[in-house]
């Protein structure tokens, strides 16, 4: 029987879509996010559909806050078998108006937040010799684009951290899945004015992730596949060409 899954950043976007898919697949879902009213509404929705669900408010970038939420959810729904570190934020900056505080905040939420979620769940998983860590990184981990400084840094760091962890945890019975989606239609990308090739619906992405979680297999999941291929091959293009092309592409929307 599917067990208890905790999802951070569960109130909107990919997180909420994951919660719905996992509930449909029979998992009990623990929801973590900052906004209580959104969590309450989603929990009520899932429970009405016959699923077991609970919520806890937390700021993932704060270890204590994340730990408290985790403890409360384990009390409500039992031992956490799958931790999905999904919470993430995005903003673009220009070098001439660069604000380090904004950049640091992105790193704290996207990197430390994901690692906090894994860190509070790991002791139990290691003790039981069983568990799954899932982190929602981004295709941006594969190639840093102009203006995406802190976001690209955060996703590169997160993919690197969890892929490294996967080696270390292989003999502990804990699998690690690193998801690197391309563009997904969510609130986070709603303000992007540049073209977003291959944009996925959050629900479709969630279905794909849940199928992978059910298989129990870890590894790296880059989707859509052509995004991974394109960004990987981009390294073969000389930097001065690629950077100018990327800048032109990302500014396409600004004249609209």
């Amino acid at each position: 029987m599917p067990g208890h899954v905790i999802i951070t950043g569960a109130s909107v976007g990919i997180g909420a879509a994951l919660a719905r898919s996992l509930a449909r697949a029979g998992y009990s879902v623990g929801l973590v996010a900052r906004r209580q009213e959104l969590l309450e509404a989603l929990t009520a929705d899932l429970t009405r559909g016959g699923a077991k669900a609970a919520w806890a408010v937390a700021d993932v970038s704060d270890e204590g806050s994340m730990r408290a939420a985790f403890t409360a959810l384990e009390e409500a729904l039992g031992p956490c078998e799958v931790m999905i570190a999904n919470a993430g934020i995005l903003s673009f900056q220009r070098p001439e108006t660069f604000d380090a505080e904004v950049a640091v905040n992105i790193l704290r939420v996207n990197v430390e937040g994901a690692i906090n979620a894994a860190g509070v769940a790991l002791p139990g998983m290691v003790a039981r010799g069983r568990g799954q860590l899932v982190v929602i990184s981004s295709s941006a981990a594969l190639r840093a684009l102009p203006g995406w400084h802190a976001y690209a840094a955060s996703k590169s760091a997160v993919s690197s951290f969890f892929r490294s962890l996967a080696f270390d945890l292989a003999d502990k019975g804990v699998s690690v899945l690193v998801v690197q989606p391309g563009f997904v239609a969510t609130d986070m990308t709603a303000n992007n004015r540049f073209p977003m090739p291959g944009t996925m619906q959050a629900s479709d992405l969630a279905e794909g992730i849940v199928a992978r979680v059910q298989s129990g297999r870890g590894g790296v999941m880059t989707t859509p596949w052509f995004m991974g291929l394109a960004l990987g091959l981009s390294r073969l293009i000389p930097g001065f060409l690629f950077d100018r092309a990327a800048r032109w592409f990302l500014r396409l929307g600004e004249t609209r």
């Binding site: 660069f98 990197v111 290691v126 684009l145 760091a157 690197s160 490294s164």
Partner: protein, 260 residues
């Protein structure tokens, strides 16, 4: 009077060697690190060779402190023309007993430290339209490997940050160089039990010389020494499922030394 070259993480190792090297190139060097006494020593060595040096103590984990130190040095030496974000710590990660405080320490020094240091001079440098930005990353950031999750992540993140910045600034007159070394003989690199250093270990002075040359030439990156660079590039293309068993067979016990 020379132009201002700022080194963050300048009290020892690669940073101290970078200070001497940039002074030789005619720059007035601004030095930042936590330990005042060590900074004073480095400044003394620069002056003994006829260079100009000023220093301020600051912790790269503390945004306000770092900003104040940079502002103070700019008052003495003028606007920063060259910056190298070098401050870094090396710690191994024990994944099965993951210590979140350790992860924070490594990420905040090696990744946030780079963002804060460069961020403090970036807007003004961009508006002036000339300058050189560099950060010391590591070959360890090029492909995830066991036992150094936090260190590898911090360096991978720093390299990505530089890559995005370079994409923005290319053609603007401000250059961004990723200084990505393998093993360098510093306090951070402990010799193995036999007393031997890892393969291709470089001397800090040599390392600094090559870094400064690449930085001032405005190169995109300097990944060296070349045998490790190509090994890492090749390993980065192989899937984790293949690398895992391979590394387990090769991995030295106790935990590996940290490149960079």
């Amino acid at each position: 009077m020379g132009q201002h070259a700022l080194i963050v993480g300048a009290s020892s190792g690669i940073g101290a060697a970078l200070a001497l090297e940039l002074a030789l190139e005619g720059y007035d060097v601004g030095l930042i690190a936590r330990r005042t006494d060590r900074l004073a020593e480095v400044a003394e060595r620069v002056r003994a060779r006829g260079g100009v040096a000023a220093y301020r103590a600051a912790d790269v984990n503390d945004a306000a402190q770092l900003k104040a130190a940079i502002a103070a040095l700019e008052e003495v030496l003028g606007p920063v023309e060259v910056i190298i974000a070098n401050a870094g710590i090396g710690e191994n990660t024990d994944a099965a007993n993951l210590d979140l405080a350790h992860v924070r320490r490594v990420l905040r020094t090696n990744l946030e430290g780079v963002v804060l240091a460069i961020g403090a001079v970036l807007p003004a440098m961009t508006q002036r339209g000339h300058g050189h930005i560099g950060a010391v990353t590591s070959i360890a950031g090029m492909r995830p490997i066991p036992m150094i999750a936090a260190y590898g992540a911090s360096k991978a993140g720093a390299s990505a940050f530089l890559e995005a910045l370079r994409a923005d600034l290319r053609g603007s007159g401000v250059t961004v160089t990723d200084l990505c070394p393998g093993y360098v003989k510093t306090d951070m690199l402990k010799p193995q039990e036999s007393g031997a250093y890892p393969p291709f270990t470089m001397d800090a002075g040599d390392t600094a010389r090559r870094m400064v040359r690449a930085l001032l030439a405005g190169r995109d990156s300097l990944v060296f020494p070349w045998p490790l660079a190509w090994m890492s590039r090749f390993a980065a293309m192989l899937p984790d499922a293949l690398i895992g068993p391979l590394l387990r067979r090769l991995a030295p016990k106790p935990p590996p030394a940290l490149p960079g």
